[in-house]
């Protein structure tokens, strides 16, 4: 596209617009909790013009001046509010919950948004409804519910990662209160760090990316923490098998300042109960304080800290000799953010954020052997992590009734620690070995964007441009990322949407496949490793049928990725104190394409959805698989989910979800031959085998009861109802038989090697669980 053509498209909206008269703006809140309502509809009944509240709950609507202008504010699950407006003014709306409280589990842009809104490939979750779905170990998880939607894969049994449209987990921009997080798993990745009790809103974007988002290729997951109940003190708690949690929220100064603090920790030492020799602990902590300094200024202080620690200790003691080895793996994330929301005018809303974000992963190994007076000692520490300090500004400029502009900038100072290692060995008689490898690198990333959103009657578009730069040592990278989304509204019930997005990513994730504790290495682009890039095309049709009771969408996507990295075959960073770039394959290309079908019933006593995805994702690296294309490790050809929630009575709900996925690819040896060091295995082409198909049914019943002191809820759930043995990984094992011969007056025990077998490890079969929650 030439520059002239682009400018014409960019400036086109200005010519399409009429004259505004008055502007009404402000926030939309929940009347009881004081939480902002994101995505609330604000419409003028007379002019038929409308808008939707943004991620801060702010709206701005410019309408022709009229004595009869009637502003109607609505949000699903809340009573509508109406207000006559005759002049430009700032007005906050407080909606009270009460209508259709049972509706909407997943909203793919609720109601008319589904057809009219200039967005596509978006999934919105409400944590209240997520809590009604069956949980893993009784623990509901936002990430696991997202895995039940089209184009989102789990990456393995009960895992909480998300693999979106053939991308890897590092290609998801996960924003908690606007701050990007890195690894988001607890409990070896089986549970996400997101505590549903502390979350207000969840929005996943898989395609048609607005220009305000950058530095990731595959998806944007926006999660907003609760601001805290501004009218009364509330305490919520849950006792669960996997973790227990407690949340406090309430006003600091009534209607001026509020807080929310939540903490979660595993209380049941499941591994100790099993006597597995493993000690596992995790916790997370969320806090947020909101200060309304004036009608136009709000400040937010948010914090998160979470950590997992797993250790295995082996010890042996005998006369004059003792041995102890301790392996510990710990990982965690932290962030602190200060955000300032300001209404500069009825038409201009701005957010400024300054934040610190940290992620670290540590592997420690200590070995001590004492014999008589001699002591051998070996210590190893491997650390990897990333620390960011970021400053960003985002502005919403509601320029005309059907034209708004978003623009902003971000500045991030990264400090990478790809693979710091320390190794000390003090073995008796040997010269002491001390090795230290420091890998730290610093980088500066900046970005600017502008985004034009034009929602017309029969047509809409969102054009944007993002420019980013990245500086590390003497290397500079620049990226220009145009984004476009077109929406052709054929009728009130049918629309066709198309989007084109160029994305860029300056950080890379190196991780080992297969089983094991999380070993995520976040690596920078540098002089030798280029930033990853992608281009995604998405075409979709959306329809509302059966009097608006059912919403249907069918989307196809095609995504090309370049400059991907992965470990070289047989390479590892562990114990090899060297430049990480020597351990990787670079310049990888990826292709992902698929068709996604989504049928939802968002309203009524019975709600739920059916999702089906047919997809393919491949990778090519020059030195892997003889340079030929091979399936991405998490390529799933067919994926389907059915989710149903039935509100039996006001206090009882039943829910169930069934999910199916064709088998993930796996690399297996098929041959062997004798070598100098024993049998040599010959692996078939990379990921040329498929594991068995995956399917599972989970059910749950929630029973709540109002008491004199508050509300309590019992949740009974069953994971894997029909006890399907789903694959977690494959491995080889050889039987070892023992022959006991007691002839000849003695016993002779002989070991016999039996057959070699390929076995499937399955983790979780039929598994009932229970959780108890209370709120007062």
């Amino acid at each position: 596209m030439t520059l002239n053509k682009f400018l014409i498209l960019f400036l086109l909206p200005l010519g399409l617009l009429g004259q505004e008269k008055i502007t009404v703006s402000g926030y939309v809140f929940d009347e009881i909790t004081g939480e902002p309502l994101i995505g609330a509809h604000v419409n003028d009944k007379v002019s038929k013009l409308g808008t939707v509240s943004n991620e801060a709950g702010f709206y701005s609507l410019t309408i022709p001046q009229s004595d009869s202008a009637l502003i109607i504010v609505s949000f699903i699950g809340y009573e509508k509010k109406m207000e006559r407006i005759s002049k430009t003014q700032l007005i906050n709306f407080k909606l009270s919950p009460g209508i259709e409280i049972s509706e909407v589990t997943v909203i793919q842009s609720a109601g008319g948004d589904f057809i009219r809104k200039n967005e596509m490939s978006a999934v919105k979750l409400q944590p209240k409804q997520v809590n009604k779905l069956p949980g893993f170990f009784g623990e509901t998880d936002i990430m696991k519910v997202l895995q039940l939607t089209p184009g989102v894969q789990s990456g393995g049994e009960a895992k909480s990662d998300i693999f979106v449209r053939g991308g890897s987990p590092d290609q998801n921009l996960i924003l908690l209160d606007g701050v990007p997080l890195y690894y988001v798993g607890h409990f070896g990745g089986f549970l996400s760090i997101f505590n549903t009790d502390a979350i207000q809103d969840v929005n996943l974007i898989k395609g048609g990316f607005p220009a305000r988002f950058g530095n990731r290729l595959s998806s944007v997951l926006e999660i907003s923490m609760k601001e805290g109940n501004s009218s009364k003190l509330t305490i919520q708690g849950t006792l669960g098998l996997l973790s227990s949690k407690l949340l406090f929220e309430g006003p600091l100064v009534r209607d001026k300042a509020s807080f929310m603090i939540s903490a979660r920790k595993n209380l049941v030492p499941v591994f100790k109960i099993l006597d597995a020799g493993i000690d596992y602990n995790f916790y997370d902590f969320n806090a947020k304080a909101t200060f309304k300094v004036s009608e136009k200024d709000k400040f937010f202080l948010s914090a998160y800290s979470g950590n997992d620690n797993v250790s295995v200790i082996n010890s042996f003691n005998a006369e004059n000799i003792s041995q102890r080895d301790n392996r510990t793996n710990s990982w965690g994330s932290q962030f602190v953010a200060l955000k300032w929301n300001r209404i500069f005018s009825g038409k201009l809303f701005g957010t400024n954020t300054i934040a610190y974000v940290g992620y670290n992963n540590k592997n420690n190994f200590d070995y001590t052997l004492k014999r008589d007076t001699l002591t051998d000692r070996l210590e190893s520490q491997i650390r990897s992590g990333i620390t960011d300090i970021l400053f960003k500004s985002d502005f919403n400029w509601y320029l005309k009734p059907r034209f708004n502009i978003r623009f902003g900038q971000h500045l991030t100072f990264h400090r990478f620690m790809p693979n710091d290692e320390k190794f000390n060995a003090d073995m008796n008689g040997q010269p002491g070995v001390k090795r230290v490898y420091n890998s730290q690198e610093q980088a500066l990333e900046t970005g600017f964007y502008v985004e034009n959103n034009v929602p017309l009657k029969n047509f809409g578009f969102n054009f944007g441009m993002r420019f980013s730069s990245y500086h590390i040592k003497s290397q500079n990278y620049f990226s220009l990322e145009p984004r476009a989304l077109l929406n052709c509204i054929v009728s009130d019930n049918f629309s066709i949407k198309y989007s084109w997005s160029r994305m860029n990513q300056y950080i890379h994730l190196l991780t080992y496949s297969g089983v094991g504790m999380p070993n995520d290495y976040w690596m920078p682009s540098n002089q030798t490793v280029k930033p990853e890039g992608s281009i995604q095309n998405t075409l979709g049709i959306n329809s509302v049928i059966m009097n608006g009771n059912l919403e249907v969408s069918l989307e196809s996507y095609y995504k090309k990725m370049n400059h991907l990295i992965t470990f070289k075959a047989g390479e590892s960073l562990i114990g090899n104190l060297k430049d990480w770039t020597k351990t990787i394959e670079q310049e990888g290309n990826g292709t992902a394409y698929g068709l996604e079908f989504f049928l939802q019933k968002p309203r009524g006593k019975t709600t739920g959805w059916l999702s089906t995805t047919i997809s393919k994702s491949d990778r090519v690296f020059v030195h892997l698989n003889e340079g030929k294309s091979f399936p991405f490790k998490y390529d799933r050809l067919i994926d389907a989910s059915l989710v149903i929630i039935e509100e039996v009575t006001k206090n009882i709900s039943l829910s169930g979800n069934w999910s199916y996925g064709s088998g993930y690819p796996v690399t297996l040896p098929t041959e062997k031959y004798p070598g100098e060091l024993g049998d040599v295995l010959v692996f078939e082409k990379v990921n040329s085998f498929r594991m068995r198909d995956y399917h599972r049914l989970d059910i749950a019943v929630n029973i709540s009861k109002e008491t004199s002191w508050g509300e309590q809820t019992w949740t009974f759930s069953i994971f894997n109802v029909y006890n399907r043995r789903n694959p977690y990984y494959y491995y080889f094992d050889r039987e070892h038989l023992v022959s006991i011969d007691n002839s000849g007056g003695g016993i002779r025990v002989t070991g016999i090697e039996g057959d070699m077998r390929l076995l499937q490890k399955s983790l979780f079969r039929f598994f009932p669980s229970f959780a108890y929650s209370f709120e007062f």
Binding site: L274, E671, L763
Partner: protein, 323 residues
């Protein structure tokens, strides 16, 4: 207080359910079938221009591959037709020598530096295989030094250190291998370790954390970091020793120390072979690396056909009482 009692009751109920729930949890195993691939021939032959008088310079061993789930014992193939070419000229066909347990030429024959060698193997029921290679130019040991007692290892056994010095040729990519053997028994190779970065940074060298893995019997490295310079390599091994009347003694022995200049194919085969074996000791904590196939330069088959140049020094280790 009533509230506290009530919550405590809930906690007890919760713990009961937690126990029931966890008791349902087990690992499961399910047998999976694999397709059986067609068997291929496996060639193992490394050759050089100089060997001790008791070692036949050209030896070729032949096997076949099996399905990975087949547990039958490997048997050498002894009835294949093997053709040996020097500079594309057929020299002879090899015969199977029962004494050597390998194919060899009837004539006592030394391959030479600078010539190209190729091999072609025909065997009913298998695809014909072929390979070619050469003997690289030699790099002599300039100097060496043995310290017969360099310290005690963590098993309280004595270890020795050896340093060898050589000049790496300029303008060529060179690959090396260090081996230590008994002088009377070339097959008895000592296990070696080193702190030299040009070796420890090789992907095949066992991680400092895999100290439970067996040490390698060969040290392989390339000249990317030392190209065209004089280099001294220090490495260690555990010499033969006994405990006699409560005293630890290093026994008298004679060892050969080889510095081999090897071809790229030789280097790639043995480094990937070592990496392949060490990687099979994956660790739940540290993650598993991606599977690695062992390099082969055998067309339609597996294994190695490669030349090397040997330079050796013979050293006597005197008896020494340690403690």
């Amino acid at each position: 207080m009533n509230y506290i009692n009530m919550i405590l009751n809930r906690v007890l109920i919760f713990c009961f359910f937690a126990f029931i729930s966890w008791s349902c949890q087990t690992d499961m195993e399910l047998e999976i079938e694999l397709p059986e691939p067609k068997k291929k021939l496996v060639l193992n032959s490394t050759f050089t221009s100089f060997t001790p008088p008791y070692v036949k310079p050209l030896q070729v061993r032949l096997w076949n591959s099996w399905p990975v789930l087949d547990t039958s014992q490997a048997k050498q193939i002894t009835d294949a037709k093997i053709l040996w070419y020097e500079n594309d000229q057929l020299l002879d066909s090899l015969y199977f020598d029962d004494t050597l347990n390998a194919y060899t030429l009837r004539e006592f024959y030394f391959p030479v530096e600078g010539a190209n060698y190729s091999i072609e193997i025909l065997k009913d029921g298998y695809k014909n295989i072929s390979a070619q290679n050469f003997i690289p130019p030699g790099v002599p040991i300039q100097d060496y030094k043995l310290v017969s007692f360099a310290g005690l290892n963590n098993d309280n056994l004595a270890y020795s250190s050896v340093s060898i010095t050589f000049n790496d040729p300029e303008h060529t990519e060179n690959y090396y291998e260090i081996i230590v053997t008994d002088v009377s028994n070339e097959k008895n190779k000592y296990r070696l370790w080193t702190n030299e970065k040009i070796i420890t940074e090789e992907p095949w060298y066992p991680s400092v954390l895999s100290f439970d893995s067996k040490l390698p019997q060969r040290l392989l490295f390339n000249d990317k970091q030392i190209n065209g310079t004089e280099k001294q390599i220090v490495f260690y091994f555990t010499p033969e020793q006994v405990i006699d009347k409560g005293k630890l003694k290093i026994r008298y022995s004679i060892i050969d120390i080889y510095l081999r200049s090897v071809t790229a194919e030789y280097y790639r085969y043995y480094t990937t072979l070592l990496q392949h074996k060490y990687n099979q000791k994956g660790d739940f904590f540290y993650g598993l690396s991606e599977p690695l196939n062992v390099f082969t330069n055998v067309e339609n088959g597996y294994g190695i056909f490669a030349g090397f140049y040997n330079d050796a020094v013979t050293i006597e280790i005197d008896t020494l009482t340690i403690r």
